[in-house]
């Protein structure tokens, strides 16, 4: 039988691959949406299959790991956390897939002023920073970095809340752009969801490293 550490390294590698793939999908979806690049949007749709396949592989491998190695303590927490992280990454992939689909459905470039006013760029940059923190925390078991994600998610939530008011205000002034406003709100909500999912992943990393359960806790 292969050493349990070797099994963990292999599972970790799969997790890292899933993390990179989901991150890349979000980057492509953002670019596709803000630049109205349907080729990129198509690429996101196509790569969704890879995310789904990797999701299944991680689930299967983790099931085998639990069944064959009966992990306990840190090994058990690792396996349970990986299943949750994988689930959340797959859902991030779904959000990117939806954004790409909305880009194609909208069939036009968003008015640049709207993109600016709704702070899509700041939201994306914050998400990028959260992804980097999650990657660092996952690979280096770094609790301090994992906790940074919670604060950054609050920035995402604020941008999302403001976006609603901006749309309500601007839609009255330019009713001909109502379709763009609505679509921008829907997509904004998808990015906000990605922030929530990254926060969930951070919670799982903290659980795995420190056995601390942060789920449903207000103060993190």
């Amino acid at each position: 039988m292969i050493n349990i550490d070797e099994q963990r390294v292999a599972l970790n590698k799969n997790g890292e691959e899933m993390l990179n793939l989901a991150h890349k999908q979000v980057q492509l979806a953002y670019e596709a949406f803000t630049a109205f690049d349907t080729d990129l949007a198509e690429e996101v749709l196509l790569k969704e299959n890879r995310i789904n396949a990797l999701d299944l592989r991680i689930e299967k491998d983790t099931d085998h790991f639990i069944a064959l190695y009966s992990p306990v303590a840190t090994d058990l927490r690792f396996a349970l956390a990986l299943l949750k992280i994988n689930y959340n990454l797959e859902r991030i992939g779904d959000q990117a897939f939806d954004i790409a689909n909305h880009t194609i459905d909208l069939n036009q470039k968003l008015v640049p002023e709207l993109v600016d006013r709704m702070q899509f760029k700041l939201m994306f940059e914050t998400l990028e920073s959260m992804f980097k923190d999650v990657e660092n925390a996952f690979l280096n078991e770094n609790l301090k970095v994992a906790r940074k994600v919670f604060k950054k998610d609050k920035i995402i939530n604020e941008i999302n809340t403001k976006a609603f008011d901006i749309v309500a205000e601007d839609a009255v002034k330019s009713p001909e752009l109502i379709r763009q406003y609505l679509m921008a709100l829907v997509v904004m909500k998808k990015f906000e969801k990605i922030g929530d999912l990254l926060k969930n992943i951070s919670e799982s990393i903290i659980y795995f490293v420190d056995a601390e359960i942060l789920k449903h806790k207000k103060k993190k």
């Binding site: 349990i4 009966s70 306990v72 303590a73 058990l76 056995a211």
Partner: protein, 288 residues
């Protein structure tokens, strides 16, 4: 009122006034009273054990709650079996054995000179790694301890044998063949018979030294289920090398390493987030 165990185990001079009066009259009806208002059934304080110059147990203090299952785990030679056998003084016969510290059962120091070993071993039953039935009938195996105790009423012995076999979850399998040789039973059945033999004399503590290591998974599962059920009435300590078994059946787990008690905590804690790195490394199979 002082419990029967406390009176008997002390070998008290006034032992006659309560206990022996019952014993003389009708020993089989004597009922062991559970300790009242006592938080712990078993307590050890600063226990050290030596075999000649070799120190097998180092300063171990532990408190075990009544009607709980405690698992002793640790690599071979860590002292867990030695420690287990202190509770019924089974190490006393080993040459050069020396014990320091206190071991109390129901608040009575069992290493006092006046302790009656027969009574202690009646109170603290033991099940061994390998099933060890006597080359006698199934019935005689279970009745053996009762007869040693001086119980002679046939009806009472038959009742106790039946009760013990039911408790050991063996009755339905052997009730038609009680006169059959115990050696004709399967390994798993033999081990349950040995548990029935232990239960027949109505102990309050049961020590188990790797009771399933010689059994197949089905028999192991039956014994584990049985141990779990016995917890309702008995305080159980089990030595096991099977981590999953310790995790499945015990309430508390004690990890020993090189004679030291490294960690003692609720089993759920030990197997999800142990305090000590050495415990984690052992239970995750990284050393030992």
């Amino acid at each position: 009122m002082e419990s029967r165990f406390i009176s008997e185990i002390n070998g008290k001079k006034n032992y006659n006034n309560t206990m022996s009066a019952i014993m003389l009259k009708k020993p089989e009806d004597a009922k062991i009273e559970a300790p009242i208002d006592e938080k712990y059934k078993l307590q050890t304080k600063d226990v050290n054990v030596f075999y000649g110059d070799f120190q097998a147990i180092k300063d171990v203090s532990i408190n075990i709650k009544p009607k709980s299952i405690t698992a002793f785990i640790g690599p071979s030679g860590c002292g867990k079996s030695t420690f287990l056998r202190l509770f019924n003084r089974m190490n006393d016969y080993i040459e050069d054995f020396k014990m320091e510290g206190k071991i109390k059962i129901d608040d009575i120091n069992i290493y006092k000179n006046k302790i009656q070993l027969e009574q202690l071993r009646k109170e603290v039953g033991m099940v061994f790694q390998k099933p060890n039935p006597f080359p006698k009938s199934i019935f005689e195996n279970v009745a053996y301890g009762l007869k040693i105790q001086g119980i002679s009423t046939k009806k009472l012995i038959a009742d106790r044998v039946e009760k013990a076999l039911i408790q050991a979850d063996l009755w339905n399998e052997v009730k038609g063949n009680l006169n059959k040789s115990a050696l004709s039973l399967s390994g798993g059945q033999q081990q349950r018979l040995c548990i029935a033999r232990t239960l027949a004399v109505e102990p309050s503590v049961i020590l188990m030294d790797e009771p399933t290591s010689a059994l197949d998974p089905i028999s192991t599962s039956k014994i584990e289920e049985l141990i779990y059920q016995l917890k309702q009435d008995y305080t159980i300590i089990i030595v096991t090398h099977n981590m999953q078994q310790a995790a499945r059946i015990s309430d508390y787990t004690a990890f020993f390493y090189m004679g030291e008690l490294i960690e003692f905590d609720k089993t759920k804690k030990i197997f999800t987030n142990p305090e000590k790195k050495r415990t984690e490394n052992y239970i995750t199979g990284r050393f030992g």
